[in-house]
């Protein structure tokens, strides 16, 4: 069991890192395209085509791909005025409740994200701007990001149930 947990930890950690790396790359692209568009519009009177559509698609991808790493580091904002004072089994119960809520929330997002991606692929959804590009790969990535966050919450929940210590980047 321990070996399986360690292997699963490693696999999920790598997927989280990969998702975050893609999100980070998109941040850089959004900044570059946004700045180029302003320069182009103001100085050359030639805006970068489809900047708005690209920014919209990129933003959705980066938001959902960053979720898993945020969950891994328990970076989501928590009011710990009561739960922070809990010890022993009460603290574990509080953490367990938080992880169940995370699984439920991300589970809903993944389920409906999957359906949205499926519909998007079925109609070959494309952007409406000057340059028409596929929207469905982005929707698949959105579903993947939510799914990774759910998987990460599940991994933390399993570790909690098995009484395994938190990995160093689990801690808030």
């Amino acid at each position: 069991m321990q070996k399986i947990a360690v292997a699963a930890d490693l696999a999920i950690q790598r997927l989280c890192s990969l998702a975050l790396a893609i999100a980070a790359l998109i941040i850089g692209l959004l900044a570059a395209v946004g700045a180029a568009d302003i320069f182009g519009t103001s100085l050359l009177y030639h805006p970068v085509p489809s900047t708005v559509e690209f920014s919209e698609a990129g933003l959705a991808i980066l938001v959902f791909l960053g979720l898993a790493q945020a969950q891994r580091r328990r970076a989501h904002i928590t009011v710990d005025i009561v739960s922070g004072k809990l010890k022993g089994w009460a603290a574990k119960a509080s953490l367990g409740l938080a992880l169940i809520a995370a699984m439920l929330f991300f589970g809903f997002l993944t389920w409906r994200g999957y359906i949205a991606a499926e519909q998007s692929v079925a109609v070959d959804e494309r952007s409406m701007g000057q340059i028409s590009f596929w929207i469905w790969p982005g929707k698949i990535l959105v579903c993947f990001g939510s799914g990774m966050a759910m998987l990460e919450s599940f991994r933390q929940f399993v570790r909690l149930c098995l009484g395994m210590p938190e990995t160093s980047d689990d801690q808030p």
Binding site: A24, L30, G34, G66, L67, I81, A101
Partner: protein
């Protein structure tokens, strides 16, 4: 449970209970909102909302302003722009008794103009200013209090993340909110600089007698460290004010500008840039999931009829608009003692804002007042986010009890500024009316 008021009240109580049990705010709000929607409208509407709303919110062009300003702040922090700014201001102010307090206030206001996060601001200045304050014999509690309080300028001085989230939740112009925050932000910093000399005169043990350690030449040389901040402020706020750039594009320009300045001055490495990108991606995810949950909850409150009923009851109760504002101030100060600012914003704005509009109050002015209250909330004991940020970043130099004592004078200054902003709305509303 068909009465919308009872249903809304039960939902708010449930979300507070779930959040108090340790469930992150985003999941508490989102799940309670979903449960409420299910009970009000049934399964189909709920699942369709879960399918459409999160993607729609996360793919809204105007909301891309969040990662852009977070990135600009992250790059500015990593490249040392902030420490140079502090050094420059410090050289000019150290001749006054309490000069380091004033330098912290002025430099914090400067950094707030390129960073929207109060916590980042407070943590940065704890590392930069606190060691020097303590070495020179400044009172450690008041020093920590000054840093924590000055860190809150980022909530009011644009580009403030609090304004962005308020704008998203209320559909108000983020550009107008940014511009509206300029004068109140400057007023707050000016009050600090004006009151600190009086405080140290009354309590000489808080700051040692002044010593001038720098020549005029050194002071002038130090000003070189100010131009990167001024350039970024000019690019971002100038663009928004003149209407050349919408806030999102201004954020992108600011982020690229910060990177360009840092590269030209050789103050940033590739790994710093990559770390800033990753840090921005993670923080963006955290903020957006909170916004998405807030929008889900807000939709539930609207479709259940809670918002309409509450607005009608409050407006018809005979409560005057002024009394309503006083109650708001008390409510936010109380909530702020226990709940972090962004959660407070997401939890309360969906039902408070319609009442504000029902009273015919200026939404931009209310946005400024709300941000000011939130600014005060993050420094109000026992739970003030900035208090903990400073204590944690001080690496054992300051205890939480030192902090609780040291923050009090600054809470009083903030309350006075809040009163001024309530009594003179033009301070907040004048500049947006002159926008191009």
């Amino acid at each position: 449970m068909s009465d919308p008021l009872i249903m809304g009240a039960v939902a708010i109580a449930a979300l507070l209970a779930v959040a108090a049990a340790g469930v992150p705010i985003a999941f508490s709000i989102g799940l309670v909102g979903a449960a409420g929607m299910f009970l009000t409208t049934g399964a189909t509407y709920t699942v369709m909302t879960f399918q459409s709303l999160p993607y729609a919110a996360a793919s809204e062009y105007a909301f891309a302003v969040i990662p852009m300003f977070v990135l600009m702040g992250a790059i500015a922090s990593a490249s040392g722009i902030i420490s140079e700014l502090y050094t420059a201001v410090n050289r000019w102010m150290e001749a006054e008794r309490g000069g380091l307090f004033m330098a912290t206030a002025v430099a914090s206001a400067g950094f707030a103009a390129i960073s929207g996060s109060t916590v980042v601001n407070a943590a940065m200045f704890t590392r930069i200013a606190l060691p020097e304050m303590m070495q020179l014999g400044y009172h450690k509690g008041v020093s920590a209090g000054c840093i924590a309080a000055a860190g809150t300028f980022a909530a009011l001085i644009p580009p403030s993340l609090t304004f962005v989230i308020f704008g998203i939740l209320t559909d108000e112009s983020i550009g107008a909110l940014f511009i509206a925050g300029i004068l109140p932000g400057i007023l707050t910093a000016a009050c600090y600089v004006g009151v600190i000399p009086l405080l140290v005169r009354l309590r000489p043990d808080w700051a040692p007698p002044s010593v001038s350690r720098f020549t005029l030449r050194e002071k002038l040389t130090g000003l070189k460290g100010v131009w990167p901040m001024l350039a970024l402020v000019f690019i971002v706020l100038g663009g928004i004010y003149t209407g050349v750039t919408p806030p999102t594009a201004a954020g992108a320009l600011g982020a690229v500008g910060a990177l360009f300045i840092s590269i030209v001055r050789r103050r940033i490495t590739t790994s710093d840039v990559w770390a800033s990108f990753k840090q921005t991606a993670e923080l963006t995810a955290v903020l957006f999931i909170l916004i998405i949950a807030g929008l889900l909850f807000s939709r539930f409150l609207v479709i259940s009829g809670f918002v309409t009923e509450l607005t009608d009851i409050v407006i018809n109760s005979g409560l005057s608009a002024n009394m309503f504002i006083v109650l708001m101030v008390l409510m936010y100060l109380l909530l702020g003692m226990f709940i972090d600012p962004l959660s407070m914003l997401v939890m309360t704005v969906p039902f408070i804002f319609p009442v504000v509009k029902g009273y015919g109050l200026d939404p931009i002015w209310f946005g400024v007042i709300l941000c000011k209250m939130i600014e005060i909330a993050v420094i109000t004991p026992p739970v003030g986010l900035n208090l903990f940020a400073v204590v944690s970043a001080s690496e054992g130099r300051v205890s939480i009890s030192d902090m609780y004592f040291g923050i009090l004078p600054f809470v009083v200054i903030e309350l006075v500024v809040l009163l001024i902003l309530i009594l003179f709305p033009a301070i907040s509303t004048y500049l947006p009316t002159t926008m191009m």
